[in-house]
């Protein structure tokens, strides 16, 4: 698989939120405003790359040689949780500015299915380290595209006349359905089939 296809595949064709349904909790929770969506996307990009590297190295250097493949779920999530907590502390201590913009989203990342989802997909697709990184970046950009696009729609939805029982989540879901429909159009773009 050439690198561009991996990146585009994860970014558009198989968008992690709209096509694979991974990462929906924060997607609906945080996308109420554009500003929080940007912060969340930056945090996801940052942690997803870190998680992809760490999980790839752990899997191929520790788990496979020792035959402990069955521990991958426990190891990955433990490492991601530890990683996030550590990164949060470092940011809070040394990079105050970055922390105020990015840091508050970090705890949200540990329970984000997208991060763990990427680590598992990297294993399933048998990517090497470079491909894993590209896939992580592509997915994070896809996450960002979906959540920012959706935040703009949701802000507009706030003001449009909707019947009370459909305000909030229901209309958001229907909105997401339409955005997902649009993304469906990207299927097998450039022959990508991730």
């Amino acid at each position: 698989m050439n690198p561009a296809k991996i990146l585009m595949g994860a970014f558009l064709v198989n968008n992690i939120i709209l096509m694979r349904f991974i990462g929906l909790c924060p997607f609906f929770g945080v996308s109420t405003s554009l500003e929080t969506s940007f912060g969340m996307s930056a945090a996801v990009l940052f942690v997803m790359m870190l998680a992809a590297w760490v999980s790839w190295l752990l899997y191929h250097l520790l788990l496979v040689p020792t035959g402990l493949v069955f521990l991958r779920t426990a190891v990955f999530i433990l490492v991601i949780a530890g990683l996030v907590q550590f990164v949060e502390m470092v940011l809070k201590k040394y990079m105050r500015g970055l922390y105020s913009a990015l840091g508050i989203y970090l705890p949200l990342i540990t329970t984000n299915c997208a991060i763990l989802g990427v680590t598992f997909l990297n294993i399933d697709y048998r990517f090497n380290l470079l491909q894993s990184t590209l896939f992580a970046v592509g997915t994070a950009l896809g996450f960002a595209l979906a959540i920012i696009l959706f935040a703009a729609i949701r802000e507009r939805l706030e003001d449009s006349p909707i019947s009370p029982s459909f305000k909030g989540y229901p209309i958001a879901f229907v909105g997401a359905s339409l955005v997902s429909l649009a993304f469906l159009g990207f299927t097998s773009l450039f022959g990508i089939s991730l």
Partner: protein, 202 residues
């Protein structure tokens, strides 16, 4: 703790505090694996196993767990149960495992389980936590059954594999329901109906 209020822990989970439609957590597996009623129930069973297991264990050790590191410990407990169900499914239900795919290991980050472990099991007794887990799982299974059935009937015209619709309907299936947009649309409508029904009460 008198019996009726304990029963409430169980009953709440199904309607009043239904994890998916009221608390709006645990959406990823709900939309992804409710492609057919059988797969949806398969996923619900997996989530039930993990939720019940983790709630019970968490409430068992809650007095011993140090506060600052409780999240990693809960995560390890949950991932243990998830790996167990992951390998059990792979061994004894390969067809179902292939459909659920990556969503079985993803149960570990499912907001319902960690949410209930933190919000409930960490502060309640074993029996109450068990009731709460069963209640939430029942609620989750209910939503999965409804979603799975609707999507299967529309897309394949069958219910649990049994043809329930006339032949002409099956020849022109509503494939929209199988694709991701259909899932979003369906849960949006369901949430709208739930809002409508609970408008007065909640």
């Amino acid at each position: 703790m008198s019996a009726p209020s304990r029963w409430k822990y169980f009953a709440d989970g199904i309607i009043k505090e239904n994890p998916v439609l009221i608390l709006m957590i645990g959406l990823c597996p709900t939309l992804a694996t409710s492609v057919s009623a059988r797969d949806a129930l398969g996923m619900a069973a997996a989530v039930t196993f993990v939720l019940v297991g983790s709630n019970v264990v968490v409430s068992l050790i809650r007095k011993v767990v140090p506060g600052s590191v409780r999240i990693p410990i809960f995560i390890i407990i949950i991932s243990t149960f998830v790996t167990i169900i992951d390998y059990v499914l792979q061994a004894y239900q390969p067809a179902l495992y292939r459909v659920l795919g990556v969503f079985v290991p993803l149960i570990v980050v499912n907001c319902i389980i960690l949410g209930r472990a933190e919000a409930f099991a960490y502060g309640h007794g074993v029996f109450d936590s068990l009731l709460d887990a069963l209640g939430k799982s029942a609620g989750y299974a209910l939503v999965m059954l409804v979603m799975g059935s609707i999507r299967e009937i529309f897309a394949a015209g069958t219910w649990f594999g049994v043809a329930v619709t006339p032949a002409w309907f099956r020849s022109a299936p509503v494939l929209f329901m199988i694709f991701p947009p259909g899932a979003f649309f369906l849960i949006g409508i369901l949430k709208g109906i739930v809002n409508r029904l609970t408008a007065g009460k909640v």
